[in-house]
């Protein structure tokens, strides 16, 4: 009996390898497992066996039946797969995909985020202030009293019939922040600024700046240089050096213009830096004690540094943009490149 069951299994294994289609497979299943099959008659005759024998053969028969069904099932899938006409299902994989459409950030937003992220990682807070400012915050608090010639250094948009102006520099945020916070602190103040200047490829009346402001007990010029170097090296992904030149901004003393080593030639000299190895970037300085006083701090208790730069300038350097007016053009042919 045992032998018989194993024989049937072997016969099936032999026969199944020759099966080519579903019909043959059906016939085969009927022949070996059908009602009139030898296998079924074995199962039917189980009852005639001695109990011990019956148990043994019964287990074997059931196990073998399961095996055979499994073999047939996998053969059926095999036959089905073989009969698929893959050739008919060929596609052109080079046809464009169905896009759900992705939008694009204005490059100023991208640069601004990079700056915010670098400074946030260094523990700086992002400070903010209004774009329509009072003359107090835009000028007086920054040591630029009324009728001071330094007010001419920026062509400011003034509001009719009020003491309001469009913020001409992000430094206007300084006193606002200082009035609410005590040193030590580290902030950056990014934002939109306005100057009444004729526009051309390098001038815009609406533009963006950010400035870094650090105030504490013993902040010095060396700290200013260091933070600027760390930031620019991170931003441009290369070692950047800082160079200070004396300058004048009423809200700092000493005041500087700063240059960075050329990002194109690493200071060797190229057309981007007009051969001198340095790029002029922005203004900087040690916070004028009058600014602290205007913000309500005692004179000569704290020191601090501030330096700033135009975001448009950074974006133009980074993406080789040659016309500053593009940022506010709303032209999607421009924006969709970022």
């Amino acid at each position: 009996m045992e032998q018989k069951i194993n024989d049937i299994k072997n016969q099936i294994l032999k026969a199944i390898s020759k099966v080519r289609d579903n019909g043959e497979l059906f016939d085969l299943e009927k022949k070996f497992l059908g009602r009139k099959s030898e296998f079924v008659s074995i199962l039917k005759n189980l009852k005639d066996l001695a109990p011990e024998e019956r148990k043994k053969i019964g287990e074997l028969a059931n196990k073998t039946k399961g095996e055979i069904l499994e073999i047939i099932k996998s053969k059926r899938q095999e036959v089905k797969n073989e009969n698929l006409n893959f050739n008919k299902e060929r596609i052109d994989v080079t046809i464009p995909g169905k896009k759900s459409g992705i939008g694009h950030l204005n490059p100023i937003s991208i640069v601004r985020r990079e700056i915010e992220d670098i400074f946030t990682s260094m523990g700086f807070e992002i400070a903010d202030g209004p774009e329509v400012e009072t003359e107090f915050y835009n000028f007086d608090s920054l040591n630029i009293p009324k009728s001071h010639p330094a007010r001419d250094m920026q062509d400011t948009f003034f509001m009719k019939n009020s003491d309001l102006a469009m913020r001409s520099q992000t430094s206007a945020i300084q006193a606002r922040y200082m009035q609410k916070n005590k040193p030590p602190f580290k902030i950056i103040a990014p934002g939109r600024c306005f100057r009444n200047e004729a526009t051309d490829t390098t001038h815009e009346h609406t533009f963006h700046q950010f400035e870094a402001l650090v105030v504490g007990d013993n902040i010095n010029v060396g700290n200013l240089k260091h933070v600027a170097e760390v930031f620019f090296s991170q931003f441009f992904h290369q070692d950047i050096k800082i160079r200070l030149r004396p300058s004048y901004f009423p809200f700092v003393e000493p005041g500087f213009e700063y240059d960075i080593s050329c990002t194109m030639c690493a200071g060797v000299g190229c057309s981007a830096c007009k051969g001198n190895g340095w790029l002029e970037l922005g203004g900087a300085g040690m916070v004028n004690q009058n600014v602290f006083v205007a913000a309500g701090y005692p004179r000569n208790k704290y020191t601090g540094f501030a330096w700033g730069i135009g975001l448009e300038r950074l974006a133009m350097m980074k993406y080789k943009i040659d016309d500053v007016r593009l940022f506010h053009s709303g032209d999607l042919r421009f924006i969709r490149q970022f």
């Binding site: 009728s147 010029v221 260091h226 004396p246 003393e253 000569n300 020191t303 924006i335």
Partner: protein
């Protein structure tokens, strides 16, 4: 300001080339904007000696020369000049030389005689404008040498951007020369202290200063029998190099001294003054000659030197002869007492005026002059005396006049002041290690007297008005010492996490969500014009208006982001079929004396063709996506009745979260679109980002997923056009209670005054599997209520 290098060199005694001077000033003193180099450098022009001169056989006006140029045989040159003789040394341009005037020298045949070069006049070498005759070189010039060797002395011009803090001293040659000397650690060798006002008091001249606040000092000097003529060449050259036109010897002298010392000066023709006025007699006590410095009367007029007439106010300060205005003080002279060719007797003015007053007057009159540029930045009143002494000296020299006397009105004398400088603060602020003796050395060469100690007592000369605080002195030490020496130093501070500006980071998340669903970010100006205001129907909204706009299109501060976005849409429809844009920006409205600021978000969808009329729903879906992204699942969108003009009257909705309005969603009114030349529909939405943030930042709580199956039923309704989807859904929810998990609208079509809506309602019981009968009961109840309350017909 432009500075003649030669003049600076003479005053400072520097031996440095202009480039080096420029570099040193850049890193220690001022921004140098440019350098016009003066050396001539024309390769190919060399020194030649004329060996012989013969008449040209075929031309009466030409001569044949033989010229020794030091190499090879003597050159034959045809020349048309007659100021030369055999033996003269002259500049010779060899064949193939390019001259600075663009001429290229070639081998030529002139009237049958060959010529191998050209002798040069001054203009051909770029040395000046003179074309009269060949330039004759000194005997000592060596034959064959490049000509540039003998013309190094031609002047260079350095252009320096003097910022307001240093204008009072550095808008002068003496100021910049002092700086150049300091950078070489040299004592400045100019007899500044030797300039003393002559003691002789004028008997004829009386001066009355009516406002010592506006005119802290006024010095007048009378000179007689001067002779007006051209200034000497050297003076004209220096004026010209500094960008000032030469006029005559008296006017030029006033300008020359202003350039040299920085104090503007003026000269009046005495014989043109009218001294008969009764008033004058009172004010100047019957003197024959009077200067009265007084405020103008409102509406008083003055005719200026250039003939322009200006009307004044009582804020303006005038120099008068007691009656008639002679000059707007410190700004510009008048026609009345102008120096002309016949002038014989003059009054010289060297004065000091209040900076704020000068600035106000020149701003209002739109009169920016070399004089106002200096006075509006505050000048040391002690300088007036130096300038007058120098002016008299020069006029005596160039115009031959005789000084008859001087009057000086100077009530509040400015004296040097003291600053106590803590030497340790110098180093702690700069982050440097400078020895006290090095600090004082720098201060001393700047003219600041010091008493040594840890606290350095400094006495600041009055010509350095800008040095008022310790930090001012630290800057002086730092810049002369050299900022390049200061090493980068990491800050020492507690390590703390950055405080996060929630609003800024929320607005970044909004950007991310919107770019994620296909919105491009635009930036627009913060302004728009009258036309936008009218087109968009904003004319009833109060706007902030700029006093000095770029143009009338940028006159008002925006109260909405939409008008400028419509301009973007018009432009972009030229290049794109359909697109979505957004902008984050601030809007402003006046609020009494204050101003209301709102951080706004605008979203817009534009399509060239919107055949299905779905643009409103395109934008609505995007807003729903965004809100879902922020975890906002419950919000209301309701039709606005009689919305603003900019909105389509029947396609405008407001969006509320928890009863608070967060924004508005609308199609733009076609009439407004046509004002912006947009031919297809546009949908826009505007949100207040601070309110949106408030509702978006809710913390999320997990809602367990039901273990029991969801049962769905479809119903199809025929409703009147006045019945809204929201009414139906609200009714279904009200009746179905918490068994209704979800309602989906899967088909809509409108016919006549009715519309057909098909819904799929999902039922779910979180506690057990539904019984069929229970669902049927619920559906029946829903249907009957819809029929009763909303007059709906259920299609079977």
């Amino acid at each position: 300001m432009k500075y003649s290098y030669n003049w600076l060199k003479e005053l400072s005694g520097t031996k440095k080339m202009p480039e080096k001077v420029m570099e040193d000033l850049t890193f220690h003193s001022f921004e140098v904007e440019g350098l016009e180099k003066g050396e001539i450098n024309i390769p190919g022009v060399i020194v030649g000696k004329i060996l012989e001169i013969k008449k040209h056989p075929n031309a009466d006006k030409l001569q044949l020369l033989k010229v020794d140029v030091g190499a090879g045989s003597a050159l034959n040159i045809v020349c048309g000049a007659w100021n030369i003789k055999a033996g003269d040394k002259v500049p010779v341009a060899l064949v193939d030389t390019n001259l600075s005037n663009g001429m290229k020298i070639k081998e030529a045949e002139i009237r049958g005689e060959k010529s191998f070069g050209m002798l040069c006049a001054e203009d051909e070498l770029g040395l000046g404008k003179n074309h009269e005759g060949i330039l004759i070189l000194p005997e000592s010039a060596k034959i064959g040498d490049p000509i540039s060797k003998y013309f190094r002395s031609k002047d260079s011009v350095i252009e320096i951007k003097v910022l307001p803090d240093r204008s009072h001293d550095a808008m002068s040659y003496v100021g910049v020369a002092r700086e150049i000397a300091v950078l070489e650690r040299k004592k400045f060798d100019y007899d500044f202290d030797g300039l003393v006002l002559p003691k002789k008091k004028s008997k004829k001249l009386k001066i009355a200063v009516k406002s010592s606040k506006l005119c802290p000092r006024y010095i007048g000097a009378v000179m007689e029998n001067i002779k007006i003529k051209e200034s000497p060449d050297w003076m004209k050259k220096r004026l010209e190099a500094s960008g000032i036109r030469a006029i005559n010897n008296v006017v030029d002298a006033t300008n020359y001294v202003m350039l040299e010392l920085g104090n503007p000066l003026h000269a009046f023709d005495v014989d043109k003054l009218k001294v008969q006025s009764e008033k004058l007699k009172v004010t100047v006590q019957n003197s024959k000659l009077g200067i009265v410095v007084r405020k103008a009367k409102t509406g008083e007029k003055i005719k200026l030197l250039d003939g322009v007439v200006k009307e004044l106010t009582s804020d303006d300060l005038l120099i008068t002869d007691g009656d008639n205005p002679l000059a707007i003080a410190g700004i510009k002279g008048g026609k009345l007492a102008e120096i002309d060719g016949n002038t014989k007797n003059i009054v010289l003015e060297s004065a000091n005026f209040n900076a704020v007053s000068i600035r106000k007057t020149r701003t209002r009159l739109n009169l920016k002059t070399d004089s106002s540029d200096r006075f509006e930045k505050d000048i040391d009143p002690n300088l007036a005396e130096k300038a007058m002494a120098r002016l008299i000296e020069i006029i005596e020299h160039t115009a031959g006049g005789k000084l008859t006397g001087v009057v000086d009105v100077y009530s509040k004398k400015v004296a040097p002041w003291k600053i106590k400088l803590d030497s340790s603060y110098v180093n702690s602020l700069l982050g440097e290690f400078i020895l006290v003796k090095d600090m004082t050395r720098i201060l001393n060469i700047l003219g600041i007297k010091t008493k040594n100690g840890k606290i350095i007592e400094c006495i600041v000369p009055t010509y350095r008005f800008d040095l008022k605080t310790q930090e001012d002195l630290i800057e002086e030490i730092g810049r002369i010492w050299g900022y390049e020496k200061v090493k980068e130093q990491p800050m020492i501070s507690e390590i703390l996490p950055a405080k996060i500006n929630e609003q800024v980071f929320f607005e970044r998340k909004v950007q991310d969500k919107l770019t994620g669903i296909g919105f491009d970010e635009v930036y627009n100006y913060s302004f728009y014009g009258e036309k936008d205001m009218v087109s968009c129907g904003f004319d009833n909204i109060k706007h902030l208006e700029l006093e000095n706009p770029m143009n009338s299109e940028q006159k008002y501060v925006r109260t909405s982001l939409i008008p400028n976005i419509l301009k973007n849409i018009y432009e972009n429809l030229k290049n794109f079929e359909d697109f979505r844009v957004f902008e984050e920006g601030r809007c402003y409205r006046p609020d009494g004396k204050k101003v209301e600021e709102k951080r706004m978000l605008a979203m817009a969808v534009a399509k060239n063709k919107d055949s299905k009329g779905e643009i409103f729903y395109d934008l609505k879906g995007a807003i729903e996506d965004m809100l879902e992204g922020f975890g906002v699942n419950s919000y209301e969108v309701r039709l606005r009745k009689n919305p603003e003009k900019i909105c389509h009257p029947f396609r405008s909705a407001e969006i509320k979260i928890a009863g608070e309005k967060i924004g508005v969603l609308s199609e733009i009114n076609p009439a407004v679109l046509s004002a912006y030349k947009i031919k297809s529909p546009v949908a826009v939405a505007e949100f207040d980002l601070e309110i949106l943030k408030k509702h978006a930042n809710k913390s999320k709580i997990y809602n367990p997923i039901s273990k029991y199956p969801v049962v769905t039923r479809d119903i199809s309704l025929l409703v009147s056009n006045d019945t809204t989807y929201a009414q139906i859904v609200d009714t279904i929810k009200k009746i179905g209670k918490n068994l209704v998990k979800n309602i989906k609208l899967f088909d809509v079509f409108e016919k006549d005054s009715q519309k057909s809506l098909a819904f799929r309602i999902e039922f779910e019981d979180k506690k057990k599997t539904f019984e069929k009968a229970e669902v049927e009961r619920s559906i029946e109840k829903i249907v009957s209520t819809l029929e009763a309350e909303l007059g709906v017909t259920v299609r079977k």
